[in-house]
């Protein structure tokens, strides 16, 4: 009974504030992560040698290093070069870079799976390579990549907790503060866990709906 009162009166209000920050982090990261993924993947598949190489290097570097290290570099390292960000901005930049690298892998595979005949048909109609990729190939590739991208978005929701390490007080950070003050780690982080579970479930539902909505009629997966 005392615990319930504690949860309602002491824990929930700061957690809701943290939740708002978490949602904001995700909300800003998803579209730019998608865009980064599309650009990197398209550059790898359709770019010239130089662009293709640069895009591959990007993926190798950011898939191969820990996100936390990247966040520290952006927030604590870049100021020494005269570039400094707010904690929130630094976190979003880090998430977008990381999310983009993973997304690009799914999109690249999807780009390669769209039949090249359609590219030829588009070019035969007078489209430039760029027009054909943007109007014909990418829309189909994005649909095919969506299940993988959905997975990345779920991951993103969870690793958004790393923003706390840059003093951006989101859901996990808000929980940590309450837990330390009242020394109730088990209770607090169980509740925080429930919050994440809800977030992920809702996101999963939305993404599932989107996948269905975007399905091309008649096409068997």
């Amino acid at each position: 009974m005392k615990d319930l009162l504690f949860i309602r009166e002491v824990l929930i209000p700061p957690l809701l504030e943290g939740l708002a920050v978490t949602i904001k982090l995700i909300f800003f990261s998803i579209p730019f992560g998608l865009l980064a993924g599309m650009i990197i993947a398209t550059g790898r598949v359709y770019g010239n040698r130089m662009i293709s190489f640069l895009c591959r290097a990007y993926v190798i570097v950011f898939k191969g290093t820990p996100l936390l290290m990247l966040l520290f570099l952006i927030y604590f390292g870049l100021p020494s070069l005269g570039i400094s960000f707010q904690p929130f901005t630094a976190a979003v930049i880090g998430f977008v870079i990381c999310n983009g690298a993973y997304n690009s892998e799914y999109i690249r595979g999807a780009l390669l799976s769209v039949r090249t005949g359609q590219l030829m048909a588009a070019e035969a109609l007078g489209m430039t390579r760029g027009q054909a990729v943007i109007n014909i190939i990418l829309p189909q590739a994005m649909r095919r990549a969506l299940p993988g991208i959905s997975n990345e978005i779920i991951y993103l929701i969870k690793y958004s907790s790393l923003a706390y390490m840059l003093t951006c007080i989101e859901l996990t950070g808000a929980g940590k503060i309450v837990a330390s003050r009242y020394f109730k780690f088990t209770l607090v982080f169980l509740v925080v866990g429930v919050f994440y579970l809800c977030l992920v479930t809702i996101a999963g539902r939305i993404l599932g709906f989107l996948e269905k909505k975007l399905q091309i009629p008649g096409l068997i997966k």
Binding site: R115, G117, Q118, M120, A121, A122, E123, A124, L125, G126, M127, T128, Q131, N135, I136, P139, Q140, R143, I216, P217, G218, L219, I220
Partner: protein, 255 residues
């Protein structure tokens, strides 16, 4: 038909590695003419069509459309390609777009038409191939014959001067072949200039002004249907026609 020559093909060569696919192909196409290319697989018929609109860049030789060089045209190629419609064996419809949008998309993106105008034009072309009632279906919801007719409508929407057909019925059931050939016949009769790679000798006989027999990347002989089919000059041509006859029935000879 002593019409104006609208397409000139001169000395086209193309090799893939050490394999010479095309070894010097030249011919002229008059306005309103239908030329049918026959020959066994691997003789470069499809490659030749793709060289005409530069989807495949030939190693040597030139293509001229209305006196303008298509080969070595640099950025101009995108404008010239609009004038050269192409229909593929596997339709190559855009899977994520409805039949109508398939026809519309190049009008909007390439011709910069507004949506209303492009939509009307697309419907017009779909009516022409008898598919106005399928306008809102996606390619995967169409039969092969319908899909191929949509792809013909898509090419026609650009108002091409010449149409290239690369084995347009080879991926179709015999039952669906007829509807596509009918559309092509109508086109030819309405004065469209067409180059057709096909094994449909019935179509060739009734529509072609000239049949060109290709062998090993060269034009072995050519002539009007009656000349080529009834009196082939070379044994190789005779052999090939006999093979087609065994497979598809002696359509050509029954005329």
């Amino acid at each position: 038909m002593a019409g104006e020559i609208i397409l000139k093909v001169r000395d086209i060569h193309k090799s893939y590695g050490s394999t010479e696919v095309l070894r010097g192909i030249s011919f002229d196409v008059q306005k309103g003419e239908t030329k049918v290319f026959i020959g066994s697989s691997g003789t470069g018929k499809s490659t030749l069509l793709r060289c005409i609109n530069q989807l495949t860049v030939p190693d040597r030789g030139q293509v001229w459309l209305h006196g303008e060089e298509v080969t070595h045209s640099g950025k101009e190629i995108n404008r010239l390609r609009q004038k050269i419609g192409m229909v593929f064996q596997n339709f190559n419809l855009f899977d994520h777009l409805t039949a109508r949008k398939n026809v519309e998309v190049a009008l909007i993106k390439v011709r910069k038409m507004n949506r209303k105008e492009a939509g009307d034009k697309a419907m017009e072309e779909l009516v022409r191939v008898g598919l106005e009632d399928k306008a809102d279906l996606y390619p995967a919801e169409l039969s092969g014959g319908q899909a191929q007719r949509v792809s013909i409508a898509r090419a026609l929407a650009m108002d091409p001067d010449v149409m290239l057909f690369d084995e347009p019925t080879s991926a179709l059931d015999p039952e669906l072949t007829g509807e596509v050939l009918q559309v092509m016949k109508d086109l030819a009769q309405n004065g469209m200039t067409m180059l057709v790679v096909t094994h449909e000798m019935g179509f060739a006989c009734s529509v072609a002004n000239e049949i060109i027999f290709m062998e090993k990347g060269e034009i072995l002989e050519s002539g009007s249907p009656s000349e080529l089919i009834c009196n082939p000059r070379y044994d190789r041509t005779k052999q090939f026609l006999n093979k087609l006859g065994e497979l598809y029935g002696d359509i050509g000879r029954q005329r």
